[in-house]
Amino acid sequence: MNYSFDFSPVFAAWPMLLDGILGTLRMSSLSMVFGLALGLVFMLMRMSKLPMLRSIAIGYIELIRNTPILVQVFFVFFGMPALGIRLSGEQAAILAMTLNCAAYAAEIVRGGVQSIRPGQIEAGRALGMHSVDIYRFIVFRPAIRAVYPALCSQFILMMLNSSLMSSVSAEELTYFAQTLDSQTFRSFEIYFTLGVIYLAMSQFFSIALGLIGRVYFSYPAK
């Protein structure tokens, strides 16, 4: 083996990598927030009394969960211009990840809602509360708490999957790494460093989400 390792071109490119890290954090965080919000809508539709809404939600969730996220973002980026919708790489990435995250979040949160004892909802009804208020003030927090670890794993998985968004030129970390690779040909050093950075970022998300959970779910368990 006569390859001599040289990380200096990688470190020299740190402003570019930092841009990439910020891009990944930005796209992933936005997609988590939007994805969770949209996921709640699909969850409510999925649990609705109206068969029509239920079918739409089930169809959507199955479609998303049974197709690759790469195909989804290709569809958004390359396919939608045929409908006159032209998005930048980053916009397409956020939209695709949001749509993807929503399907998984809907199913995870539904599990949380189903874990709520019927007595909780009955207590709200007996107090004269409307269903919207019952969901918002009684069901929501304990339901999210019940599935919070699963939700966090899903978020972190999505952050890692965001590397696929380099395929539509979304300026996230992997995109910059590929650019750097084509300029320096230091593939080993670049992708090794990339792996370390992704590892650090998932640790970061894990800790940050854990802290958010600690604050939001500070009430003692039964």
Partner: protein, 251 residues
Amino acid sequence: MTGTSASEQAIAMSGVNKWYGHMQVLKGIDLEVGRGEHIVLCGPSGSGKSTLIRCINHLEEIQQGTVTVNGTTLSQKGSNADHIRRDVGMVFQQFNLFPHLTVLENCMLAQRRVRKASVADAKEKAMRHLERVHIAEQALKYPAQLSGGQQQRVAIARALCMDPKIMLFDEPTSALDPEMVKEVLDTMISLADDGITMICVTHEMGFARAVAHRVIFMDRGEIIESAKPDVFFSNPSHERTKAFLSQILNH
């Protein structure tokens, strides 16, 4: 019954039939409850006691008959259920406090959302009722940090915060350790002394003797017997009542 006029009636159920699938769980229930009357409802497990009182605030739908609360007759689909629930408080066997809210917040939530009370008013009323059930000092704790008896007293305070005219209790002491039963029963007795209308599903016969104007015995979805407590316990007229009483009094 005692020929009370409609305006004196808190609750009137007439010809109420209810099925779960093919199983009929309420059979021709006729029941009138006067204002300020205290009723104890007892009967074997599965006889339909919970179902009966849950029909009063429309937690359950009925298929036949009418339920009238304070002069308002519940529509079949329950479109006016919210109107009726304004007057009816309910206390459950499992307390059903909201685990993510403090005791105080548990008592404020519906006041804020349903009554649109201001924070200050809601808090003031919550504290007043928490004091009344002798638990004000725990106002900032969460339900999981309280004993069962304390939780049930909070649940009573939470219901009282909505100024109900009628209180429904569904086996409020059945989930409690024996040493906590008394504190909850004492709270209920003091409520009864204040003259609120009350239907209580319980097998606490001491409580029935102390506060009930009438004890009603149910079996297999039917009201079998309804009598004043002294008559009910000393001289029940139905065999099924006697059998039931001998069972619970021997245990």
